[in-house]
Symmetry: C2
Subunit: 137 residues, 2 copies
Amino acid sequence: MTHPPILGTLESALYVPDLAAAEAFYGDLIGLPVVTRAEGRHVFFRVGEGVLLVFNPAETEVPGGNPDLPVPPHGMRGQGHYCFAVPPEALDLWRQRMEAGGVEIEADFHWPNGARSVYVRDPGGNSIEFADPSIWA
Amino acid sequence: MTHPPILGTLESALYVPDLAAAEAFYGDLIGLPVVTRAEGRHVFFRVGEGVLLVFNPAETEVPGGNPDLPVPPHGMRGQGHYCFAVPPEALDLWRQRMEAGGVEIEADFHWPNGARSVYVRDPGGNSIEFADPSIWA
């Protein structure tokens, strides 16, 4: 059976209870443009052709209550994962920028195919990776 | 300060303890190509230029133990969120395909700008959306 088309990933989600800290990290330090925010509930960022959604799970676990926009509830606890595709020649610059912002480099290594990944933690403890996209080539 | 470049989202992550059910849903029903799998730990799928990572959190919460590939541990519990960008004219086809596969449509509505989203649940209870990318235009 033929599958209907998919264009790509539109939204990826992370959960960070402290949204101000999330905006300082993703907006100020990483430099992602803010698409929209709802005080205490979420802040969304543009990443390439998609959007990175950062939610406060305490707010998204309960139904929204707007019958015209019945967005299903969701919410996770723990440490999630997300990876930015960056040009390999920019990985050292990202390392430097994270360290200049007081963010520790948790790991920095090359995969068996030679491509490199750099890992940090966001303010919610999520494992955030900057990687040469050829890790999946 | 100028920020180093970001090309886009490379990896989005979801957590589904039953990986066989995840592969039936994302691989067979949605039709995503499997990039790689590690029995009991994860199964990864190609989506456009990125990769959707589906993990069993019980396995990823503990360090991997390979000093050459020190992938930081992560893992979440609850119901996450992920959204596929699909052509708006394909949304009815996705609805039909989900229902033919026994997957209930949890929500189907238009945002204030007119773009439409359709929501289902994956086998881990994650809220999975198919959306016209113009919701963020």
